[in-house]
Symmetry: D2
Subunit: 334 residues, 4 copies
């Protein structure tokens, strides 16, 4: 099967400033785009930026990015990264009247790297139309939230033409802890779905064992400190810990959004004819969480549902716990 390439920054970022350094563009400077673009600038890259509302690009411009007036103008760069809100936005931004592929003198980038979370259908359509005009398209859905990116711990699965990956990879590696090439076409989208199914299962199981520990007389803080420190600890279990300990269910990723990821993930499993007994069980629990009124809460409210089912009243432990991401300003992140 495919050769695996997982490279981190150390191994690959060496060519910035070289004569063969690429001109980069960034399309869409929302919270994710700003955090990711900031890292390219910090590494000394040449970066042009475009956003519908240019004000949002300000943080990057202040750091040296060159603002341009339309997506089309980014066609003059080599590699354009995209972080955009929806499938429709992607289609407009790339294929639309003033879009990336409508460069003034027919200039188009060599490679598009789409870091958004869009549908397989939209991705495939943009991929096909871009290819016709000579632009390679990489699907590179990101695993992590803005705070994870800021902490330098973002990763991505990447799929698309291998040569395009080889060209983009040094810059992708600057964005976080490294990226993994998983093959042709939309395969990276599937990886993202799998990742999110796994994330939901881990969140529910964490809720179950945390409530069992608490009802046995162990504080959530103590239990989760233990678990995070053990071989089972992950960045994820670490950064959800403040929410579980202090019952902070302010949404970073809502239960409804997690349900949507499970809709897609389980539909993919059905299409591939793969039974998912545990993910299916969690899906129903998320549905129940929404039904009980937590749809717009953070999915960490799975803990509350679990406590209610165990007849255990929950109170915040008001503990000073770290999210493990190294910057204490926000108490909890998706």
């Amino acid at each position: 099967m495919q050769t695996i390439v997982t490279r981190g920054r150390e191994e690959s970022g060496a060519m910035v400033g070289h004569e063969d350094a690429r001109r980069l563009g960034w399309l869409g400077t929302g919270r994710m785009g700003v955090e990711m673009g900031r890292r390219l600038l910090a590494a000394g890259c040449d970066l042009a930026v475009y956003n519908r509302s240019l004000a949002k690009a300000e943080p990057l411009v202040r750091l040296g990015a060159k603002p341009v007036a339309s997506a089309a103008e980014l066609g003059a760069t080599d590699i354009v990264f995209i972080t955009i809100g929806s499938s429709e936005d992607l289609i407009t931004a790339v294929l639309g009247a003033d879009g990336l592929m409508a460069g003034p003198d027919g200039a188009v980038p060599k490679v598009i790297v789409d870091c958004s979370t869009v549908s397989v259908e939209a991705s495939a359509r943009v991929r096909a139309e871009a290819a016709e005009r000579g632009t390679a398209f990489l699907a590179a859905p990101v695993m992590g939230n803005p705070k994870v990116v800021r902490a330098g711990k973002m990763t991505a699965a990447v799929s698309g033409p291998r040569e395009a990956f080889d060209m983009a990879e040094p810059y992708l590696s600057m964005l976080g802890r490294g990226v993994t090439y998983v093959g042709e076409g939309e395969l990276a989208r599937t990886v993202k779905l799998c990742h999110n199914l796994f994330l939901g299962v881990v969140a529910q199981s964490l809720a179950e064992v945390t409530i069992l520990a608490e009802k046995s007389g162990i504080s959530r803080q103590a239990f989760l400190a233990c678990l995070n420190n053990s071989v089972m600890g992950s960045l994820f279990t670490g950064y959800k810990t403040p929410a579980y300990v202090n019952l902070d269910f302010a949404p970073t990723f809502t239960a409804s959004l997690l349900r949507k990821d499970f809709d897609l993930g389980l539909a993919a499993a059905r299409e591939r004819e793969v039974p998912m007994p545990v993910a299916a069980t969690v899906y129903q629990l998320i549905q129940s969480l929404v039904g009980r009124g937590y749809g717009e809460s953070d999915f960490a409210a799975l803990l509350q549902q679990q406590a209610d089912s165990a007849g255990l009243p929950l109170v915040s432990e008001h503990a000073d716990v770290s999210d493990g991401l190294g910057s204490g300003d926000t108490p909890s992140t998706s």
Copy 2:
């Protein structure tokens, strides 16, 4: 509730060689005991060792440990660590005729630190009888296997008298990445059960998403590289990766043993009246795994069961993948 103490080596190990350094003993030098004792010796501790079959203590004696002829003789030390096979062995070794509490001139250790996995009942009995003779008993079940210990990544939950913990903690911290004090009595046993329930759920969910990825066209190696690198990656997902990629189901921890942990964990949940929907689903899948003939295989065979249910023939990817523990000699660890 209790104050949490999670300390690692840097913060605590400073008193070795000091005049107030404790005399240590080690009772039971199986694979775990040898790896753990080795770390104390490497840190310069004064260590006496006893094992029924003395040959097994050899590796530690070669590194400077002092062999003694009976468990009773360890009574002359301050803190005795125990790693032993079963509840019965613990009772014999501590309370038996020639046991730890039968020291020649009534000498008993100040603190016993039991790192074994024994029943709550055995633990409580030994605790009570030791307390009567002035010896504090700490339950300190270990999270990790010998290879994890060797890589310096072992952790433990600890419960028992707080002062005893304070005395033992500098040495406990030398054993790995730090330990967490979770409260009085047998609470640490519950933490271990919770840890293992979580481990089983993660292993099954990992099997589900890995098979979904593979049936979608992504190699297991690529998918797991991606996941391990992401915020969901843990030491555990890392060290099971070689087994999942190369289908190495040689037992490090058998499906039958994992079932036993689920027996105990779900019994604890029943006793505490905590529903565990996801753990219960996994329990049935482990039972099915045993029923299908994988009882004495490593529990990583959950991947095989999952593939069979998906109608996907599995073949080893014969890939050179690391287990993330830093020493490549064994391909897969529990």
Copy 3:
């Protein structure tokens, strides 16, 4: 909410032969249509029949039904019953060029009673177009298979205009044990989906307890005799008993078809935001059954899967067991 009407034959079938007896038509004389039509004829009804391949209508013609040359000719009757294979067939047969609504002189029936299992979308479309031409449309999906019909034990949920139901109800009641009016529109389709979800759950649970009983030393025949005789026994548990006892998995309703019903049922649950923890668990088990090669077997193969997971080799008990439907010619029915 709606008034419930569940009437059986005794209470309603009195007007046959009366001057106000309706002229009836039957469109689609497959296995189900023949068994159902036969009952109307036996009750003395005036019945015209049409089938694309007229040979299949023969059994009814021999009993006195009048064959017609096109669906359009059935427009001259009052009430037309339909049993047809697919959504597309329904649309063609009713709305097509030579369809039921294309009667020579604009004659259309007063009421259409669709006893097929078609999609909500197709049903709603036919309903709307028929209504425009003055014909009321009743959705009346049948619960039971041809053998159940023949045994006089078929039932149906019915939805659509209430007056149409009142007109058709005497004849519907002749078809089996009575029908239930559940409300407007496509509601009867939902009842059928719920019925089939329940059926799948019961089949799996039956497999679980039967295997538990057998592994404990009780023959399947003895156990199921007991259960069928108890308050838990139903026509369904009775007519699946020969398959479970004698391992006859010749398809009456395949695992793949049951999976399709679960696809639809769980999609309806998702749309209505109703968690279905048990049905979702069974769905995954059916998917696993398909993955293990039983897709084209009868769904009774759930028993085999359950036995395999329990490590129990199954052999037929070669027992002479009744299916409870009163005619011993076929050993097992869906």
Copy 4:
């Protein structure tokens, strides 16, 4: 394997009044005992009765039963039926100082038929001690509640010595719809556990589909009328219908008791190494029901939990629905 014997009243009750009619005894005249004994008296049997509090035996005495002053005095009869509250009560009543086996002149019955729900251990002990004194012991746990018995629809699984069954069977058959001989020893206890696991699964699945139907716009009354009328309908779905329609959760069998049955049933499955994926899922839902405060409600409160998880407010439909048992005095029965 064993020969199956399922006989109903018609086939077997012929010998009452004959010279070979047996003298019968009844030990324990609680609600179940009274309803069952009443049926023997109605059939003309010769019945002696004993109960600790004799007042409770009054209804049977009025119908012609002969009261005796101690369990021991029942030793003079041929067959003694027992319906008693607990394992301890069984042991005392049979083996105790003044118990059944302590007859004045060593007189003991030929056969004991225990219709109670007691532990396998207690049953096996009483069986062994009775056998030593020449009395055969039949385990005959009843499926049904007092109202089911009164309606003549009770059944039982019976295990123990075959000749004893043959002797008792004519009288057992008078108790309801017939009994099934399932083999030696305690096998009938297992059948009862299987029956109750199945009952719990059916109750939960019924809750799921009923809520799905209701959220789709179909009244519970209409939906359940439909289902009860269909091939899926059973006495059980019928007699729970009033509770589901009118939200009558007055306990006939509490959620806590159902949980206890699942404790035993799943322990048996674990011992036999049979995975029970669906029963295990329901077990957790019952635990959750208890945790949410419904432990002392009827287990029909599963419907309420299901509605809460679906975000559906439930109100009684105040409908006049039958429980299908033919006597309208109590609205709902376990």
